[in-house]
Amino acid sequence: MKARVTVTLKSGILDPQGKAIEGALKSLGVDGVASVRQGKVFDIELAATDKAKAEAALKAAADKLLANTVIENYRVEVLS
């Protein structure tokens, strides 16, 4: 089973890397960029075949390690 965990900074948390990327996009002349926030994507293969169990495992992975919930939010998706 393929799954994806997406980790993003909570709103209101300063994101200097996102700001730097935003500046670079603007200087490249990419039109209409209002703001950029960067984050992380984890593509995970799971042995589970049960969707609910897979989601529970991904949530545990995100809570225990993948995200620092002081500053980050996460989203889990089972892809197939």
Binding site: I13, L14, A20, K64, L65
Partner: protein
């Protein structure tokens, strides 16, 4: 005073730390591998040193904070044992939940490696009794993620309880924007937990303890810990 320095893959200041501890205490320091599940018997102080544990993968300190030895450190701290985390060690203590908040990318996005000044906010703690309150010392920093942040309520509690022990300042002791080189909230360089037995700090006092290093301002921290131990013993 018996000290134990934790060793994670990618750490690089553990021997500097062991040397500074030996200089202050006269005792050899135990080096404790991250896969250990117990600390050496009779340990008085656990130090989480600086470096780049696990190559700073995922988030600085995130993987080291989940190492087996950290459960032993949590037990040790819960019993009132003294824990000192420097630089990557501070990041590891925050990631492990032993200290509140988080160390974010420096506001200027650059890795900063130079001497800075910090002010000792109070002298009545095991980590600061070797100094006077208000004293300014010169210490090296070397980090890319030292910008301390926490939510408003946590910051209010840290300040209200006097848990900010070290603050970045000018050579004259002025806490201003210009000397807050990494953008840390309230210019925080070091904090303690609620009980006051776990300290995390970004600067490296262990690198300013001998004449040959050009400065000995870091000695007070280690001398104070030894004094505290001798008084308690």
């Amino acid at each position: 005073m018996k000290s134990a320095v934790l060793v994670f893959p990618g750490i690089n200041r553990e021997r500097d730390m062991a040397r500074a501890l030996k200089l202050a205490s006269g005792n050899e320091t135990a080096m404790v591998w991250h896969a250990e599940t117990a600390l050496p018997k009779g340990t008085d102080l656990v130090v989480v040193p600086g470096g780049f544990s696990y190559g700073d993968y995922l988030r600085c300190g995130a993987i080291a904070a989940r190492a087996p030895v950290m459960d032993a450190v949590r037990d040790f701290a819960a019993k009132g044992g003294l824990v000192l985390g420097v630089c990557n060690g501070f990041q590891i203590l925050c990631e492990s939940g032993l200290l509140p908040g988080v160390l974010m990318r420096n506001a200027g996005l650059k890795f900063v490696c130079r001497d800075v000044h910090m002010r000792i906010e109070r002298s009545d703690t095991p980590f600061t009794r070797g100094y006077n309150a208000g004293q300014v010392i010169r210490v090296p920093v070397a980090h890319g993620e030292g910008n301390y942040e926490a939510d408003e309520e946590t910051l209010k509690r840290l300040e209200g309880d006097g848990r900010v022990l070290y603050r970045y300042c000018s050579a004259e002791g002025e806490v201003d924007e210009a000397s807050n080189f990494n953008g840390a909230a309230h210019s925080i360089a070091g904090i303690v937990n609620e009980r006051g037995n776990v300290l995390g700090m970004m600067p490296h006092p262990e690198n300013h303890v001998e004449e040959i290093m050009g400065c000995t301002d870091g000695r007070g921290l280690f001398a104070g810990l030894v004094q505290h131990h001798e008084k308690a013993a």
